[in-house]
């Protein structure tokens, strides 16, 4: 069983301990796990061939996505497929996909010029986001037209969403192989404890939304950012293979799932199992 992890090299102190533990567990279970740092390679594109039973695309850099795309074209099996990972880097496409799947999102606008957002402010504040990326980086909450001057204009189109109250915390839902885990975090998180957050039980409504997100993109290892209330939730971001901070036993669960997915590939089955029928207890 050979697994290639496409990762971005971090200083040792910054490397996600979840990923480190996943690799340790898989290795203990006799899987050969090699970490591949795309930024440190000179890739001869015509020579790119799948060398592992399964690839895991952890890094979301341009170089990692480029290499993942080349591997995808060469028929590599990838836990989080390249086309979806690439799509999810683009907030415009992601949001439109969510809307097309009837998944609730805040009212969303796209423009190349921040000043065009001015009329929206008459109805309240907006969150302005660069079209590429995820998480809080580059996100501005804008209350007044003056603040639009601070929005960078050299990073392509921008996306604006009607600000929905977060009630002091952000909620994330992580999915590992169809299993959902809710984590509540202070937003913006500063300390380690705040970043880890605390588990919460997912309501049936959130569960339905989260599973439909996975089906909409054809992935089953992902994270969602949820805002709003239990009764009126909105999805504002989807990440392929996020950090899973705050998920109990995250490394063990991920290692078990990756091992299972790789076993499926080795046995000639697709990475993702077919849809399951629900059984009621």
């Amino acid at each position: 069983m050979k697994i290639g992890m496409l990762m971005l090299r971090h200083a040792p102190a910054h490397r996600s301990s979840v990923t480190r533990d996943v690799i340790r567990l898989l290795t203990e279970w006799d899987a050969q796990v090699d970490v591949i740092y795309p930024e440190e390679q000179l890739v001869t594109l015509s020579h790119v061939r799948p060398e592992y039973d399964l690839y895991v695309l952890k890094s979301r850099t341009d170089m990692a996505l480029g290499l993942a795309g080349a591997l995808h074209a060469a028929g590599a099996a990838m836990l989080n497929p390249y086309p979806v990972s690439a799509l999810l880097r683009d907030r415009i496409t992601t949001t439109r996909h969510l809307q097309a799947a009837d998944i609730p999102t805040p009212e969303t606008y796209v423009t190349a010029h921040p000043e065009r957002l001015t009329p929206l402010l008459d109805e309240g504040p907006i969150a302005v986001k660069p079209h590429r990326g995820s998480g809080a980086r580059g996100v501005h909450v804008v209350w007044d037209a003056d603040e639009l001057d601070d929005i960078p204009t050299n990073q392509g189109p921008i996306l604006a969403q009607r600000l929905v109250e977060r009630a002091g915390h952000a909620r994330k839902i992580y999915c590992v192989g169809g299993q959902l885990f809710g984590v509540r975090k202070v937003w913006p998180a500063r300390t380690h404890e705040e970043k880890v957050g605390e588990a919460f039980t997912i309501t049936p409504k959130l569960r339905d939304i989260a599973l439909r997100c996975g089906r909409a993109f054809g992935i089953d290892v992902y994270g969602l950012d949820i805002i709003g209330t239990d009764e009126n939730p909105f999805v504002v971001d989807v990440q392929s293979f996020p950090n899973f901070k705050g998920v109990p036993d995250a490394a063990l669960r991920l290692a078990d799932y990756i091992y299972h997915a790789c076993q499926r590939v080795v046995n000639g089955l697709p990475v993702l199992p077919g849809p399951e029928k629900e059984v009621r207890s």
């Binding site: 006799d30 299993q179 959902l180 885990f181 629900e278």
Partner: protein, 396 residues
């Protein structure tokens, strides 16, 4: 020497066949599936891969033949000439093969021993009764030995595609002994590598069921609730690991009170069992280990049986009861037994379903512990959501 093995599955090939081959027997497998029969006859061999702390050992079992169970005359001829007959067909299929065994035995002059490598406490008497039933007035069954065979090895899977002419490979761990019931054997007793004859078969059967099998099932049902796929992953979860160890300890204490320390074993034995559960090379899936919960929740089987024995010894079997409750949430849609159990729970409620399946009186302490755990688990349960915490029963 000739051996007839009914059922070329994981135990038939991955355990019985290998030991018989090592002991110098020429083996004839009896199978239902013509693809497997043709494949074994064409290749004449298969492989057994044993994995453990010492690494991986591959063995070839060659010189084998196979015949179809739909050819009763051929099967009877082979049984009539055999020096030993074994079955590993699953206890639900014993009735189906009994006429084949019976026809072969009725043709014999000399006695032969039939070993049932089935995961069933009374497999020997079941098979003997089925065979006797097939024979009618012929008392042939009484001339032959019938014994269960307690298998020590986990044979978790088979690889190799017969349609592609790939050799079948049976992957298991290294233990290579089995125990048979000396009181029911007939001379000549076959000489088979790893065979141990005991006059205390029931005690050894319970030792296996109430420690190893109890731990295996506990890992499977709790692991499934917490969303894992494999035994080796489930027992890395600290809560499950502790629960598995505690469940085995509850079983062991019951055994000690009933049979004494020699049969019960000690904590080192449980640690050794745990290390076998950690063996990732087996790829032992929780769905495989947990399958057929209706049978595994039987009155004398691996969870309720040790719980009853522990209770007799004054032990409150909390973790065995928790495993029983977890088994009642085993929602593997591919498992008809699991679906039937869930249907029963829906239809008559958990207490009555438990009583029907396990024969546990709802008023008894064990049933009350199980139902209490079931009720706590059912709060917050949603299909597909994993359990996060065994102490507070907190669901994702």
């Amino acid at each position: 020497m000739r051996a007839v093995v009914f059922g070329p599955g994981q135990i038939g090939c991955g355990f019985a066949g290998q030991l018989l081959h090592d002991s110098g027997y020429e083996i004839v497998f009896v199978a239902r599936n013509p693809v497997i029969v043709n494949h074994l006859n064409r290749l004449g061999h298969y492989r057994v891969r044993l994995t453990g702390r010492g690494g991986v050992r591959d063995m070839t079992v060659d010189g084998i033949r196979a015949i179809l169970s739909s050819e009763p005359r051929k099967v009877a001829e082979e049984v009539a000439r055999a020096d030993v007959v074994t079955t590993s067909v699953g206890c639900n299929n014993l009735l189906a093969i009994a006429p084949l065994v019976a026809e072969g035995l009725s043709r014999r002059v000399s006695p032969v021993n039939v070993f049932a490598f089935e995961n069933l406490g009374n497999a020997d008497s079941c098979l003997k009764n089925f065979v006797a039933g097939s024979l009618g007035d012929d008392p042939a069954a009484a001339r032959h030995g019938f014994s269960g065979a307690l298998v020590s090895r986990i044979v978790a899977r088979r690889t190799g595609d017969p349609a592609q002419d790939e050799p079948l490979v049976f992957v298991g761990d290294t233990p290579s002994t089995f125990i048979v019931d000396g009181r029911t054997l007939r001379d000549p007793i076959p000489q088979i590598t790893g065979m141990k004859v005991t006059d205390n078969y029931t005690a050894w059967l319970q030792r296996k069921l109430f420690t190893f099998s109890a731990g295996h099932a506990t890992a499977a049902y709790l692991g499934y609730l917490k969303g894992y796929h494999y035994v080796h992953a489930a027992v890395r979860d600290p809560e499950i690991r502790q629960a598995v160890m505690d469940a085995m300890l509850e079983g062991q204490k019951g055994l000690a009170a009933c049979y004494g320390p020699e049969i019960a074993g000690n904590e080192n034995d449980l640690t050794e069992i745990m290390s076998r559960f950690e063996n990732a090379a087996l790829n032992d899936s929780l769905e495989r280990v947990g399958r057929d919960p209706l049978r595994k929740l039987g009155h004398e089987d691996r969870l309720v049986g040790p719980a009853l024995l522990a209770r007799q010894a004054g032990i409150r079997p909390e973790k065995l009861a928790l495993a029983v409750a977890a088994a009642m949430f085993f929602c593997n849609r591919a498992d008809p037994s699991a679906n039937q159990l869930l249907g029963q729970i829906r239809a008559v409620g958990p207490a009555q379903a438990l009583s029907d399946v396990s024969g546990l009186d709802p008023q008894r302490t064990i049933a009350q512990i199980v139902i209490s755990a079931w009720c706590r688990l059912s709060e917050g349960w949603q299909q597909g959501n994993p359990l996060l915490n065994l102490e507070h029963f907190f669901w994702a």
